[in-house]
């Protein structure tokens, strides 16, 4: 099993933000969801992988090769979708295709036309005349039409209606039937990733908090709900974070066996969604920051 993407100890500092020792791996044939709140560094990591910005230290390998030394052959096999449209706004869609296509060795016009038909995009309209959703659809069509082996997407579903989001996820799952393809998908709409991601990497304030399979995550974390009376300082220690309302508490824990042992049936333990985990961990860090 090859690693299609290997990020090791990446550091990048800006004035008021920095990436610290960011590391994670994506194996060939899987989908990795890259989650984190806004400003956590998701776009920065993607720009680093694509060598649009320069890292201070660390290494990045794509398809097993260094991402700078073999930049060209790597990018030939990467389909990218950025959250801000990066294509020429002044040109018509077919013109943009004619500009971009020659730069990919595996460009497939039939495939491109198939996506254009499927997404119902008007080829002879200028890009700036399209709605945000349609611009995104165009980006997606462009990214997929050269049969990429790695698809990198930065918030591709933000601003898309739920119908198209479902359509896109279907499309991606269909692509993944080919076990030589991989997808790296950053999003803060975690419900999409809940459905299709195999691995989840969580970045927060420039640091990777975890990078594991979705199964592992939903099995090792638990949302504990119970009455306030059950809480004491001792128990709070086995919670990552706890919120209380007048009617009870809800907490995130990594120690399900212990909680079961302590409370038995007097609490409910549910499988957490990615959003639950993200929100609780964010609040935990904020609390820790305030203390």
């Amino acid at each position: 099993m090859n690693n299609i993407l290997e990020v090791q100890n990446i550091n990048k500092s800006y004035k008021d933000f920095s990436l610290k020792n960011v590391s994670f791996e994506l194996k060939e044939g899987y989908i990795m969801g890259f989650i984190g709140p806004n400003g956590a560094g998701k776009t920065t990591v993607i720009k680093l992988i694509m060598n649009l910005i320069k890292k201070d230290s660390g290494s990045i390998k794509v398809f097993g090769k260094d991402h700078i030394k073999n930049e060209k052959e790597i990018k030939d096999r990467i389909g990218f979708v950025y959250d801000d449209n990066c294509y020429y706004e002044e040109f018509k869609l077919y013109e943009i295709k004619r500009i971009i296509a020659p730069f990919y060795s595996k460009w497939n016009d039939d495939l491109f036309n198939k996506y254009i038909r499927q997404f119902e995009l008007p080829l002879d309209k200028k890009l700036k005349k399209l709605s945000k959703g349609m611009k995104m659809k165009f980006s997606i069509a462009m990214a997929l039409s050269h049969d990429p082996d790695l698809i990198i997407m930065d918030e591709p579903t933000a601003g898309l209606d739920p119908v198209f989001r479902a359509e896109l996820l279907e499309l991606l799952l269909e692509l993944m039937q080919n076990e030589n393809k991989s997808i790296f998908f950053s999003s803060h709409i975690t419900s999409d990733l809940d459905k299709i991601a195999d691995y989840i990497t969580f970045i927060y304030d420039g640091e990777i908090l975890f990078s594991r399979t979705k199964d592992e995550i939903s099995e090792s974390y638990g949302i504990v709900k119970g009455a306030n009376e059950l809480l004491n300082e001792e128990i709070k220690k086995s919670f990552i974070h706890c919120t209380q309302s007048p009617y009870g508490f809800e907490a995130l824990t990594m120690d399900i066996p212990k909680i079961r042992q302590e409370f038995g049936d007097s609490v409910i333990i549910e499988r957490p969604s990615l959003q639950d985990i993200m929100v609780h961990m964010h609040m935990a860090r904020r609390q820790a920051g305030n203390e």
């Binding site: 720009k47 649009l52 320069k54 990018k75 990066c86 500009i99 020659p102």
Partner: protein, 227 residues
């Protein structure tokens, strides 16, 4: 100059193709008008047509430059290295200069055949002048576009363009100036210099040298830039 660099140059031709069509008309009119003006006043044809066509070509270059500098995310997410982009941009200038020179020469030759012009077909100094003008301009504007900001590069190109047009068109060729306006004096000096073929030669050498230095510097700095 590898395959990708040529692809970028072809792309730049494709991107600016509408402007090509739009520019040919004012260029021809301008050429004919100017030619008629100059010939009638001095009895001989000089280099102005070549210089003017160079200016129109500058518009094309400015557009291609601006579009690519603005879409750097896109360009470098494709299989395009930083050095290939820079090399393509500088090469584009030279190629455009040559094309402009050929087009002007051919236009002049046709007009001469129809009797509208007495302009001689190209001489080496004409070629050197166009190249010198384009290289001098872009030596400055390419680094601005790619290293600083695309919009500023465009502004720089337009400023140079407007100044040049002002220099050539607005002021008559032979003028005795009584005022001590330094700006006017500078322009006159430039015109005097340009009238002398020897000076054109020096102008070309210096421009081209600046152009090469600019290329090396921009290449180095752009490779390490955060986009």
């Amino acid at each position: 100059m590898n395959k990708t660099t040529w692809k970028i140059i072809l792309k730049d031709f494709y991107i600016t193709r509408k402007i090509w069509c739009l520019l040919i008309i004012p260029y021809l009119i301008h050429f004919i008008l100017l030619e008629a003006l100059i010939t009638s006043s001095t009895g001989k044809s000089i280099f102005y047509p070549y210089l003017c066509s160079g200016l129109y070509i500058l518009i094309l270059i400015a557009c291609a430059q601006y579009l690519d500098a603005k879409h750097d995310f896109l360009i470098h997410s494709l299989s395009i290295k930083r050095t290939e982009q820079i090399r393509a941009k500088y090469a584009f200038v030279i190629i455009m200069g040559l094309i402009s020179f050929l087009l002007t020469g051919i236009t002049g030759a046709i007009l001469k055949k129809t009797g509208l012009s007495i302009m001689n077909f190209a001489s080496l100094t004409d070629l050197m002048l166009i190249i010198a003008m384009l290289t001098a301009t872009t030596a400055l504007t390419i680094p601005i576009s790619f290293l600083i900001k695309a919009l500023w590069g465009l502004v720089a190109n337009i400023s140079i363009l407007l100044t040049s047009i002002f220099v050539i068109l607005v002021l008559p060729i032979d003028i005795t100036v009584d005022s001590i306006n330094p700006w006017l004096l500078l322009i006159l000096q430039i015109k005097k210099l340009c009238n002398n073929p020897h000076n054109i030669y020096y102008f070309f050498i210096i421009s081209f040298a600046l152009f090469l230095i600019s290329y090396l510097l921009t290449n180095k700095l752009y490779t390490n830039k955060d986009l």
